[in-house]
């Protein structure tokens, strides 16, 4: 778009105050990025978070429902669970991978869900900050602990 330099005010309103020798001052577009503009911190984080909830959700439906079926329904339900049962299952890399994937996806899915809940209901900035700090700390701790347990499991511990 070319800017009309001969007159900022049309002939209807009267004679222009500006001409070629006396140009109007340049007004910056209000949203133009300049050197003084703070660096943009906008990312697509929330979009990826939204997508992650759906993708991990589909995988978790399979992982968790089979987990419940094995642990609580088949072969005597909860009655058969014990150290020997865990040792038997974690002897197989398949179930180790299953449980590891389930741990990571469920913890991240749950943590992101709780982050949304905190954002919705905790209104004071301080409360939000501390609740989310607590959430992230507990999440990192639990994920690392669970991962360590799966990788260092020793069936002959005693």
């Amino acid at each position: 778009m070319s800017i009309e330099t001969t007159g900022a005010v049309g002939p209807v309103e009267g004679v222009s105050r500006y001409d070629v020798d006396n140009p109007a001052p340049v007004i910056e577009p209000p949203r133009a990025r300049t050197k003084k503009t703070p660096k943009s911190t906008r990312t697509n984080f929330e979009l990826y978070g939204w997508l992650f909830m759906r993708l991990s959700g589909i995988v978790l439906v399979v992982l968790v429902l089979f987990h419940l079926l094995i642990q609580l329904v088949l072969d005597g339900g909860v009655s058969k669970i014990g150290f020997a049962f865990v040792a038997g299952r974690w002897a197989s890399p398949f179930w180790q991978t299953w449980d590891l994937l389930m741990l990571w996806l469920a913890m991240l899915h749950g943590a992101n869900g709780l982050r949304t809940v905190i954002n919705d209901y905790a209104e004071r900035p301080n409360t939000r900050f501390w609740l989310k700090n607590l959430l992230y700390t507990a999440t990192v701790f639990t994920v690392l602990l669970g991962t360590l347990v799966i990788f260092t499991f020793d069936p002959n511990i005693r």
């Binding site: 968790v64 429902l65 639990t142």
Partner: protein, 126 residues
């Protein structure tokens, strides 16, 4: 005060509330569950001790509640995905919720005996 101004919500709102509540409950259980499983790194006895509490009748009832929460969250989550990605998802969201509830009731009935059977036998003897 004008009568009938309280918004009582419809299928969409209440399924959203239930999805939140079940999600938070499941997440809190998950923390406890990772911690109790971590006891396999302490000793077989420590793990078997804590698992023994999972086998008591009262906790069996809580497990049935956990299954209820997880099944609803899983089925309704699939409905949410359908609402988001299926072009007719919003039009059929109510029908999908009643489908979810139907499947939920069937699965909960199926889980009744496996999850609670041993608790019933313990309480009432057999």
């Amino acid at each position: 005060m004008p009568a009938g101004t309280l918004y009582r919500g419809r299928e969409g709102m209440w399924s959203w509330v239930a999805h939140r509540v079940t999600g938070v409950l499941i997440f809190f259980f998950l923390f406890v569950h990772v911690l109790d499983t971590a006891l396999v790194r302490v000793s077989p006895e420590a793990y078997d001790d804590v698992v023994a509490t999972y086998k008591t009748p009262l906790v069996a009832l809580l497990e049935y509640g956990l299954v209820a929460a997880i099944l609803f969250h899983a089925l309704n989550g699939l409905r949410v995905i359908a609402v988001d990605f299926w072009s007719k998802g919003t039009r059929y969201q109510k029908q999908m919720l009643w489908t979810v509830m139907g499947i939920w009731i069937v699965l909960m009935a199926g889980a009744l005996y496996p999850v609670l059977g041993h608790a019933v036998r313990e309480v009432f003897g057999s």
